[in-house]
Amino acid sequence: MSSPLANAAPLLQIEGLSVSFETPLGRVKAAQDVCFDLREGETLALVGETGCGKSVVASAIMKLLPHNASVQGRAVFAGRDLLALGEKEMARIRGSEIAIVFQNPSLALNPIMRVGEQIAEMLQVHKGVSRSRSLQMAEDMLSRLGLVKKETASMYPFQFSGGMNQRVMIATSMILSPRIIIADEPSKGLDGVLAGEVMVEMARIKDQVGASLLLITHDLLLARDISDRMAVMYCGEIVEIGKSREVFSEPLHPYTNALLSCLPERGFQPIPGSSPSMIEPPAGCKFHPRCPQKQDKCMRRPEMVQVESSGEFSGANESTGREVRCWLY
C-alpha cells in the first residue's frame, strides 16, 4: 500500500547526531550517528526500550540537553541547522515552530497557574494575542481535546487526573499550530483506553493543523497504530527504519524481530541477555552479544543500508525508505 507521505519533502533532517554525557562513572554514549528525516505531515515513531537514547534525541533537537552533554551532527529544519542556532533564536522556534509534549505532565505544568492561562500564555508570548482572546482560544483547544466544560480552563493541574493533564500539555503544544510536534512518551502513565483516546485525538489535531509528529515511545502497538514510519533504536543507534506496518509484519533487524517477539500476541518471548552498558557498549554491532544470527563480521560496525521492500509494501513510484543496520543485508 503506498502512502501519500512517502515522497513528501523532509521538514527536519537529522544527520549524524551523536550525544554523550560526561559522568563520574565515565562517558555515556547516549546517541551515536543517528540519521533520519521527518517529512511534511507524517508521523514518525522512534521506538526502543527505556534508556536506548530516544528522549536524548528529542532533547538534542530542541537544544534542551544539560550542560554536561556533548553534541555532534546536524538537525536541519527549514534550511537552518538547529544545533548551530543561538539560544535567543531557538527560544523563538520552540513552541511556535517545533513544540514538545513531555512525558510527565504533572512536572511539566506550572502547579500554581490555571491551565487555561498556561495554554493562553503561549499565544500571548509568541503571537502577541490579547489575554481575553487567548483565553478563549485556549478554551476552544481544550474542548477539541475532550475537556468541554467551560470551567476546565480555570482549574489547576492538581485538580486534574494524569490523563487530563496530558491533554492540557497537548493543547499547549498545539495552540500555536507548530510545524513539528515532538511527543515524548505522551501515553506514559495513562491506562490503555485513555492512552488510545488521547493519541487518536492528538493525531486528529495534528492532521488538522498539518503538522508533522515525531512520536517517541516504547509502546510498539501505539507506534504501529498511529505512525506512518517507524525507526527502531537500540543502545543509542537506529538499527532499522521503514513503514510502520512493514517493520511490524516483516522486521529485518534481528533486534526488531526479538523486540516484536516480546509482544503478548507473540507469546512474551524474552530477548536473551540484557541491554548493554552505554559507557562501554559492545564493539561492532551492539546487538551481537544477544543476537541469534551473529557472525564473525558482527564485531565490525555495520553501515545503514537501503533494502528494497517486498510485496504489498513495494511501490513503483516512491521511495520506501527501508533501511537496516545489519550485516545480514
Binding site: 534508556g51 491506562d191 490503555g192 516504547h218 509502546d219 516480546c262 512474551f268 524474552p270 530477548i271
Partner: protein
C-alpha cells in the same frame, strides 16, 4: 489441590469526615482461594479495589468484615511464631521496582539484610546470595551497585530474589511488570512462570493488562465497584 490462602466474604470500608462520618465501601463479600502451583489473576479498572484486596491477603491491611485464612487459620488470630511464619510465607511484590528497594543500600546489603533477619550464619551469606542471584538471573557484578544504578527490570528481579529468600508459599504480585518495557516484561513473566513450576508457588497476579493475565493465570476474577463481577 491444596488451598494455601483463602478469603471468606472479605470486605473493606473506610470512614472519612471528622464530625459527620461518611463510610466508603471499597470491597465487599470477596471469597477466593489460592492454590499451590497456580496463579489466580485479579483484574479490574483503576480504583476497583485490586491493591486493597492484595494488601488484605498479605496481612498488610485488616479487613472490615470476613476472614483471611492461611493454612486454615484466621491470620488476624495468629500470634507469635505462627504469625511470623505467615508473614514469611505470604509475600508481596510491588509495582514500582525501584521504590521496593532502599536507595541507600547496595544490592548486596539489601540481600544480606534479609539473610540477617532470617538469622542465617554469616559464613553462608555468600553462597545463599549466589544461589538467589542465579535463580532470578542476575550477574554477581550487580551486587556492589545501588538501585539507581541498575535497570527497572533488574530492580524487580532483586525484589523477587529477596522475597524468594524467605521460601514463600504465596506471592502477591501487584502489577509487577506494568512499569517495565515490553522486553523486560517478557523476561519477568517467564521467570515467574519458571519459579512457580520449580517451587510450586501460589501467585495472586494483579494486573490491568488482559494479555498478561491470559498468559499467566489459571483462573481469573474481575473486580467491579468493590465486588466480584
Amino acid at each position: 489441590m491444596l488451598a494455601v490462602l483463602k478469603a471468606e466474604e472479605v470486605g473493606k470500608a473506610y470512614e472519612s469526615g471528622l464530625i459527620f462520618k461518611k463510610r466508603h465501601i471499597a470491597l465487599r463479600g470477596i471469597t477466593l482461594e489460592m492454590v499451590e502451583g497456580k496463579t489466580l489473576g485479579l483484574m479490574g479498572v483503576s480504583g476497583s479495589g485490586k491493591t486493597t484486596l492484595g494488601m488484605m491477603l498479605a496481612g498488610l491491611e485488616k479487613p472490615s468484615s470476613g476472614r483471611v485464612l492461611f493454612a486454615g487459620e484466621d491470620i488476624w488470630r495468629l500470634r507469635g511464631r505462627e504469625f511470623l511464619a505467615f508473614r514469611r510465607q505470604v509475600q508481596m511484590v510491588f509495582q514500582d521496582p525501584e521504590g521496593s528497594l532502599n536507595p541507600r543500600k547496595s544490592i548486596e546489603r539489601s540481600i544480606h539484610e534479609v539473610l540477617g533477619l532470617l538469622k542465617i550464619p554469616q559464613r553462608e551469606w555468600l553462597k545463599r546470595t549466589g544461589e538467589i542471584l542465579e535463580m532470578v538471573g542476575l550477574p554477581e557484578e550487580l551486587l556492589c551497585r545501588y538501585p539507581a544504578q541498575i535497570s527497572g527490570g533488574q530492580c524487580q528481579r532483586v525484589a523477587l530474589g529477596r522475597v524468594l529468600l524467605l521460601h514463600p508459599r504465596v506471592i502477591i504480585l501487584d502489577e509487577p511488570t506494568s512499569a517495565l518495557d515490553i522486553s523486560v516484561q517478557a523476561q519477568i513473566l517467564n521467570l515467574l512462570k519458571d519459579l512457580q513450576q520449580e517451587l510450586g508457588l501460589a501467585y495472586l497476579l494483579i494486573s490491568h493488562q488482559p494479555e498478561v493475565i491470559r498468559f499467566m493465570a489459571h483462573e481469573t476474577i474481575v473486580l467491579e465497584r468493590g465486588g466480584i463481577s
